[in-house]
Structure formats: C-alpha cells, structure tokens
C-alpha cells in the first residue's frame, strides 16, 4: 500500500506546484502574496524526497512528508500542514483503509492544525475547508454510504467550505490585519486544503 500513498503525495505535489500562481494571487489580495511560493517550494522538496527513497511503512512516508513541509514551507502554512501530516502519520493504517480510518485521519489533521493555530471554524482559514469535509465523512458513516461515495461527498463539502470563506471576515492569520477589507476574497489556505482533499479523493476513487 505504500506505493499507493506515495502516488497520492506525488500527485498532490504536482497539483500544488501547478497552482503556485493561483494560490499566490489569492494571498496577495488578503495576505502577503507568498502562499503559492511557500507551498510549491515545500512540495517540490516532497517530490524529491519521495522519489529518492523507499518506504516500508505508510507512517514513515507520511512522517517524511510532514517533516519536509515543516522544514521547507515556512510562514503559517508550513507548521500547520506539517503538524497536520505529522498527526496523520500516527494514525494512518498500514493495511486496509475504510471510512473509520478516513475519519480518524481527518480528525487527527484537524487536531494538529488547531493545536498549532488555535483557530475555530469560521475564521477564514484552511479549517473552513477541512472541517466540513471531515464532518461530511462522519455523516456518510451514519448513512452507511459506500467509501467511494463518502469520499465524493467529502470532496464536495471541502469545495463548499472553501467557497464559504469568500464572504467571511478573517480573524486569524495575516488577513485579519485587514479587518472588514478581508471580506470578498477566497482564503488561500482553504484553497490549498481543498486542492489536497480533492486530489486524495480523485486518486483513491480513480
């Protein structure tokens, strides 16, 4: 299964690198215009690391991703995504993957982000894409949906969450310096989070 996980992270890296300019533009409007630059610097390094190493365990691979992001991204996104993946590395199953695993992964990521950033939903951050996505997984579990369908629902929820950041006023991160002026712009971190969730879902379901 590590091969599959590796493929997913290689794909995530490509998507982030492709969206460097887009993410940077979003960050220019309400931040300091470096989110795409920071993220693609980090995921370039992730690609490099993953291509030149073999991993026996999923946990080792994800931990490598986390440590690489922590040591190359910088800014706010580096510690947030880094800690998220570090937490994920502790719960990712080595063998089969089911909706319970998906929920546990999502929750551990959220815990990591909240531990570092102390934000809640609604503050115009990456959490506004991630938290609805994980909530949707829990609902799908209650409804006994197929994993495939649950993941599609999860992706949709992430996208809606990302879009819901547009009217929000930021109260965390650099965008909060703008006060009211932060309204009307989509949050760059919520956007990169959506792109990551979307890629994971598409890779698993393809």
């Amino acid at each position: 299964m590590t091969e599959k996980i590796k493929d997913i992270f290689m794909k995530i890296s490509d998507v982030i690198i492709e969206n460097k300019k887009y993410l940077t533009e979003l960050d220019s409007a309400i931040g300091d215009g470096d989110h795409g630059i920071n993220m693609s610097r980090g995921f370039k390094k992730v690609k490099e690391k993953l291509s030149s190493n073999d991993y026996e365990k999923n946990s080792d691979l994800v931990k490598t991703v986390a440590m690489t992001l922590i040591s190359t991204v910088g800014g706010a996104a580096g510690p947030l995504y880094g800690t998220a993946f570090l937490n994920v590395s502790k719960v990712i199953p080595e063998a089969e993957f089911d909706i319970d695993a998906a929920i546990e992964i999502g929750e551990s990521a959220i815990n990591g982000i909240q531990k570092r950033g102390k934000a809640e939903q609604g503050e115009k951050t990456m959490l506004d894409a991630i938290m609805p996505a994980v909530e949707s997984l829990r609902e799908s579990k209650e409804k006994n949906l197929e994993l495939k369908d649950a993941l599609e629902e999860c992706k949709k929820a992430a996208e809606e969450g990302m879009k819901a950041t547009i009217p929000m006023q930021a109260t965390k991160g650099r965008a909060s310096y703008l006060g009211e002026r932060s309204k009307g712009h989509q949050d760059p971190g919520a956007t990169s989070s959506y792109l990551i969730i979307k890629t994971i879902v598409d890779e698993i379901n393809k």
Binding site: T24, G33, T72, A76, G78, R116, K172, R174, Y177, G179
Partner: protein, 330 residues
C-alpha cells in the same frame, strides 16, 4: 517590475547572509546548510538570545548578532518566517546551558515556527522560553485580529534583553526585561512607495503619485489608511500622535526615540522627521533620553518610515546604555 541588484531571486537570502558574515568574520559565522548567523564565541555561559524572521528587514536581525545583543539570528525567505529546523539549529548552536530566550515578532507564522523549534529543543533538554513583540499601534489589538504586529520596537527588545543576559541575568530575568520593553514600546509606520519581493514580478500594493499609506507593516502589506501625500511634519504628527495616545505619558517621562527608515528613504527625510518628533515631545514635556535615526527594521526598498517610542525607567536606561558590539545601537 522594479530593478534590483541581485543574482538569482531564489538565492538572495543565502548570498546576503554570506555577505553579512564576511563583514565581521572575527565576530560572527554562518551555520552550514542554514541561513543562521551566530556569534563566533557562542555558546557562552549566559542566557542565549535567538531572534529571526523573514528576510528583507535588514539590518534585522543578523545585524544585531554580537556582544550585548543577540547570540543568533535566523533568516527565513524574504518576508516568510523561517522553519523550525533552522531555529532549532540556532538554539543548539548558542545554548550554553543557561537557557535560551526566543524573541519573536507577532505573526502567526513566526510564532508557530518558533514554538515548534522550542518544542524540539525542549525535547533535547534545552531550556527555552520566548517573548512576542507586538509594538505596531496601527493594528487593533482585539479579539478579531491576531493582535498587533511586531515591527521596529523589536530592536529595543534585542538591545535590552541582550544587555540583561550579558550582565548575567537568569532566563526568567532576561525574559522579564524583554517583556518590560514590550509593555513600553509602540511604533507606527507609513510608506510613500511600496517594495517588490525579489521573486515576485510586482510590488504587493500600488500607490498613486499623490498618495501615501499610513499604518503600514514591514512586509509590503497594505496599511490601514490611504491619504494624499502630506508634509513631513504632518506625517510625523500622525505617527507620533497615534503612538502617544496608545500609552500614557506624563510630563517628565523619558523615552528612547527611533526614527526608522524603511529602506528607500534618504537620511535627509528621516532627520527632517526627527526634528518634528523632538518638537512634539518637547511640547509635551517628554525628554528624549536617547535618539536613533537610521535604518533598523526595513522592508526591502520601501520608501517611508516608522516612529518608535520606548518609555524608559532607570533599569531600561541602564540596559539601553550597556556596552554592545553593535555600532547601530551604541
């Protein structure tokens, strides 16, 4: 796209750090593989001070590494906070067993990265504490922001905490001295022209030829208010007015006054501003104990300035006057 004297935009930080170390090779050195400047004689038997942040604020912070100020400075990418591993390396390089104080400017990224480094250091048994500088009165400190930014006032924290550490203060004492500065220092800045990050094509904001921006930060981010260009004296009235109304001053108080250029401002303009600042303070019966005019915390080539007041007491005066290697803060 504004012209720049650089080689490759991706290498500006490492080349700059190398150039900084070459200026004072007998005093400071660069850590291999990291953009970290440390005192050559570190670790010393005293509390060690580590600061840093995104690059583009030179001489902050590497320019303050030396006797009586910082033991190490960590340089992130331009306007991007450094990563925890770099901060961790800095901590390890300067820790002399008496503990390490991290001086962090109040940005979400900086705080998280320095905190992670502190966690890593503590895991290795190093005693680490940190202070957060938030002197920018332009940003409202409320529930709805991440609080005030750390700007030029940070340099006073370096100086005073550095003096306390050099005098043999314990980690808790050095931290208290730093926090006393933080409680008593306020800054506000403005810009006539923005700056361009070397790896970006354009500057982060634009100003018309008759506009200026008040309440600016040090990352090329837009300020809080855009107005028509005013006279130097009126600009100083605004900046110093905001600073003075944020902290209570009374007749007879003594202050350190810093008139800080943002990188592209000629000294002539800073001195014209300095003159006005003195006039205002004299009117209010506030005595300028020490005056710093020049570039201390810049924003690449941004044209503009910030004004910082640090309210002094006997202890702060002594620490401000304490000897240091760093010519800028003598």
């Amino acid at each position: 796209m504004k012209k720049k004297l650089v080689n490759n935009p991706d290498h500006v930080v490492v080349e700059m750090v190398e150039g900084i170390v070459m200026e004072r090779p007998e005093k400071i050195e660069k850590l291999d593989d990291f953009n970290v400047v440390v005192r050559k004689d570190a670790p010393l038997e005293k509390v060690a001070l580590v600061s840093g942040g995104g690059s583009g604020h030179e001489p902050s912070h590497a320019g303050y590494v030396g006797e009586g100020m910082l033991d190490a400075a960590v340089a992130g990418d331009v306007f991007t906070s450094p990563t925890p591993d770099a901060v961790f390396e800095a901590i390890k390089a300067v820790d002399g067993g008496q503990g390490v104080l991290l001086i962090v400017k109040n940005y979400t990224g900086d705080i998280m990265n320095f905190e992670m480094a502190a966690d890593m250091a503590e895991a290795e048994g190093i005693e680490v504490d940190h202070v957060v500088v938030n002197d920018d009165v332009a940003v409202e400190d409320s529930l709805y922001t991440t609080g005030r930014r750390g700007v030029a006032g940070t340099v006073f924290v370096h100086k005073i905490a550095g003096a306390k550490a050099a005098a043999g203060g314990k980690l808790s004492e050095v931290k208290s001295a730093a926090e006393k500065v933080i409680a008593n220092v306020r800054t506000k800045g403005m810009a006539l022209y923005p700056c361009r990050v070397p790896s970006a094509d354009e500057s982060t904001f634009k100003l018309e030829e008759d506009e200026m921006e008040l309440g600016i930060g040090i990352h090329g981010e837009p300020g809080t208010e855009r107005t028509k260009v005013k006279k130097a004296d009126e600009v100083v009235d605004d900046l110093l007015g905001s600073v003075l109304s944020d902290i209570s001053f009374k007749n007879g108080d003594e202050v350190a006054l810093m008139v800080n250029g943002m990188g592209g401002t000629p000294l002539m303009e800073l001195y014209i501003a300095n003159r006005r600042a003195h006039q205002i303070l004299e009117d209010k019966g506030i005595k300028v104990y020490k005056n710093f005019v020049g570039e201390f915390m810049t924003s690449l080539e941004m044209a503009g300035m910030s004004i910082t007041l640090l309210k002094l007491d006997k202890e702060l005066k002594e620490l401000l006057d304490a000897p240091t290697d760093i010519n800028l803060m003598k």
